[in-house]
Structure formats: structure tokens, C-alpha cells
């Protein structure tokens, strides 16, 4: 059984071939997403930072939180890290080394937005971030981060059209 799940996740991890990161992606508004139907929500950027620093590892209902990151060189990861954690990913190396020394690993990295959406939609407790306009009915928005870096819990579909950069 574990092997089939492993194959599935390998397939997810390989989806980046289909969706390479865009240079414009860093300017897009972002959605922090959980699985469709999940009641898990995030109360603002400080709470999101605690999740992505692995300081907060459990949802209020006791479910383990499974945060997902995009690759460190992805412009969306760079921006997310700067806005939420206050620094770029490479400046967190010392922090993750310290946690690793105590047996705590950083969030799992998946290579594409589609991989994040699939993982989050299939994983109870999963949470990830994707461009706002890439979400679909597999996930629910837990928080949005606009182009200015401000967070909001509500999402207006119009925001996607309004804020989507010209390609």
C-alpha cells in the first residue's frame, strides 16, 4: 500500500515538467489553500509563519499540519518567504539546521503548483500556497495574500481578474 502511495507522490513530484515557474509569478496574489471541505483556517500571517516555521504542527482539532513549499528558487516561494517569514529562503538555512539537529524537518517541497494542489487536496491537514488564479474546486482558501503582501480570509472572484498580471 505504501508503495502505491509512493508512486502517486512521485507522480505528483514530477508534475513540474508540465508547469515550469513563471518569472511573472512573483507578482501574483496568492492563496493559502487547504483541502476542499476542510474546516482548517489560518488566522493571519503570524499564524501562517508559525506553521511554516514548524512551530505550530497541529490544527486546533488535533490533525497534524502538513505544510508544503515550492522550490527555494521559485519566485513564488521567494515572495511567500519574504512576506510571511520576513526573509528569503536561503536566510533560513541556519534556522532549519537547528531544527534538523532536533529531528524536525522543514516543510516538504513539491516542484509545481499543480503538485501542491494535488497534495493538499488529498492530504488531511495539508496546507500550501499557490497563485490565487490557479485554484480550483479541489481546495479551499484558508487565507489570501495580495500583491502588497496583506492577508485576508475572504476571497472575491473579481480579485483574480483584477489582479492577474498581463501575460
Amino acid at each position: 500500500m505504501k508503495l502505491t502511495r509512493g508512486i502517486l507522490l512521485l507522480a505528483i513530484a514530477g508534475l513540474h515538467v508540465l508547469a515550469p515557474p513563471s518569472a511573472l509569478a512573483a507578482d501574483e496574489p496568492m492563496a493559502v489553500v487547504v483541502a476542499e471541505g476542510s474546516r482548517h483556517r489560518v488566522e493571519g500571517l503570524p499564524a501562517l509563519a508559525e506553521i511554516y516555521r514548524r512551530k505550530k504542527q497541529y490544527w486546533p482539532d488535533g490533525q497534524h499540519i502538513e505544510p508544503i513549499n515550492l522550490p527555494a528558487d521559485d519566485p513564488r516561494r521567494q515572495r511567500f518567504s519574504q512576506v510571511v517569514l520576513g526573509m528569503p529562503p536561503d536566510r533560513l538555512d541556519a534556522y532549519w539546521n537547528e531544527l534538523y539537529f532536533h529531528g524536525v524537518l522543514p516543510p516538504t517541497v513539491l516542484q509545481s503548483v499543480e503538485a501542491v494542489l494535488r497534495f493538499v487536496s488529498m492530504t488531511p491537514g495539508g496546507i500550501g500556497y499557490v497563485p490565487l488564479c490557479s485554484i480550483d474546486n479541489r481546495v479551499t482558501i484558508a487565507l489570501t495574500i495580495d500583491t502588497g503582501g496583506s492577508a485576508a480570509e475572504r476571497f472575491s472572484p473579481a480579485a483574480c481578474k483584477r489582479e492577474q498580471p498581463v501575460r
Binding site: 500500500m1 505504501k2 508503495l3 502505491t4 502511495r5 509512493g6 502517486l8 507522490l9 512521485l10 505528483i12 513530484a13 514530477g14 503570524p46 499564524a47 508559525e50 512551530k55 505550530k56 504542527q57 497541529y58 488535533g62 497534524h64 502538513e66 508544503i68 517569514l85 520576513g86 526573509m87 536566510r91 538555512d93 541556519a94 532549519w96 539546521n97 537547528e98 534538523y100 539537529f101 532536533h102 529531528g103 524537518l105 516538504t108 517541497v109 513539491l110 516542484q111 497534495f119 488529498m122 492530504t123 488531511p124 495539508g126
Partner: protein
Amino acid sequence: MLLAQPATPALAQQAVADDTGYQLGHGWQVPDTDLTLGGYAASSLDKVQGQPWTLDVNSLSLFLWWQPLERLKLFSETELENALTVQQRRTSSDGAYLALERLYADWTQSDALNLRVGKFLTPVGRWNLIHAAPLVWTTSRPLITSEPFPTNATGAMVYGTLTSVGAGLDYSLYGSIGKELRPNHRLDTFNKAYGAHLSYPVQDSLQLGISFANFEQINERGERKNLVGVDATWSRGGYEVSTELGWRFSSEGDNSAEKGGFIQGVAPLGGKLYAVGRYEYFRESGSQPGVNLWLVGLDYRWNRALILKSEYSKAVDNRIDAKEGFLLSVAVLF
């Protein structure tokens, strides 16, 4: 049917590792298990005052953690110390010692409440909790971070992060009744001890901590000691300033008291090169006056997992034979 299967963190890690290849400093998830292997190694070349050049394989440390249940984690760190020493064309492994650094079980009730039972690092200050060679900027260790207290404890600890307190207050409360698991014969271990450590991120760039411990050691039974300490770390843009101060009081009076501290600065010089400077003071029990140690160093941080360090230290009033001289080392986290 397949898509309905929930993923597990272990398998997610495996998927990533398989996709990107093994990376130094990230450990290795044993396929199809909840077992992770990791560790670090360090080797040094030094010329300390009064001794010939010495090449040492200082440490080879293996981490192993297993998470059989979502809330239960078993962790161990076994370290082969001084595996090999080369001095004046003589190679020796006489000083080799297999140390059990950590062996514990963690039960997580919530983010705020975790129970640890076993042998763990004594939560005093910051350096002792992150002392692995690839994680620190200097080969030598400030005396205040190891001399006034046993660096390991066997017992129980309650710890967690109080996320309701500002940006998250980390706390740990612990107790020991001695009976150290595989006690290191080079250390004077706890006979009885209890203590606490608090750490709080004032800002993204500033972390403050305070420590307290009350203890008795195996070789000094009957002497009760109280240790208080403060620590702070500021870092931004590659710069870092850190300090630890400690005072240890004894039921045997002022002659058995110890105190000291250090302040260390790190500055990026461009690329992967960093300058390091440190001043420390330490007054050992029964020693007057205390030793003053100055250190300058140059480090090359190749990547997150690999660091090359060079340093020169000079002491004043060195009546306790604190190491001074040149040290070169390489350390890797794997």
C-alpha cells in the same frame, strides 16, 4: 480509489528526495519506513599553545529518528568522539569514545505540550542546544556554554511552544534523578537536577532566552548549585550578534561559584566568506582572576551543510589552560 489515499509526510519526503536526489543536511528517509537517518562529522587541524600540530577526527555523529505513531517520536544521537588523532607522525585512536549524546522518546499532546523521557541536551542557553560543529561559527566552544553545568541530562522534560503568547514562547521544564544513560566518563553528570528554559522571538531577527537550573553533580554530592543564564541572538542580512551570560552559585560559598559570558559577532565579507570575532570571560570555581579569551576567525560556508572554519584565539590570565592558538576545521551535516 488511489486518489482517495491520504499522503503521509514520510512518503511526501520520500517523493521529494527521489525527485531531487539526496541533499546534504536533509537526512535520509529510509524508503517505505518512518525511519530517518542523519548526522554530522567534523575534523580539525590545530596548533594550540604548548602542543604540536594535531589533526583530529573530532566527531562522527549519527542521528536516527523513528516516528511509529503520529504523536510519538523516538530520537537518538550516537557520537564517535576523537576517532583518530595524528600528532607528530603518530596516529592514534586511543582517545576514541562512543558517546550516547541523546536517546529519548517524545510524546506530543499539542504544540504547547510535549513530554520527553530519556537522555537529552540540558536546556541551558542556546549554544548547548545547537552545539553541532556545522551549526556554529567557531571550532572552539565558549567555556560558559559547557563548564558550569553537565551538558546532558537523563530524566523527563515537558516542553512546547505557547503560540498564544505573542510570536510564540518556547519553554522547557525538566528534572533528573541522576542515573545517566551511558554516562560519559569525561563529564561530571547530574545526580539530581531540575530547571527551566524560556526563549522568545522578540522580532524576526531577535531571539531572547533565560535559563535556570538547580542541581547536584555525581562527583560533588552534597553541594547544591544554582545556575542562571541569559542568551540573545540577533541576525539580519547575514550579520549575527550572539551572547550568553551565566552565573552559577554554590551552597559551598563564593569559592565554588562560577561566572562568565561571551559576545560573538559574524559579518558577511562577500560570497560565502564570513568574519567572526568573539570575546569571552570565564571565572572557574577556585580560580582568581578569570580568563579573558579573544578570538578572530574566517569561515567559508560552502552551503547550508558544509562549513570550513579558521580561527586564532589568545587568552589573558589563562590559569585554567583554556585552549589558545590556531584552529582549522571542516564540518558537514549529512
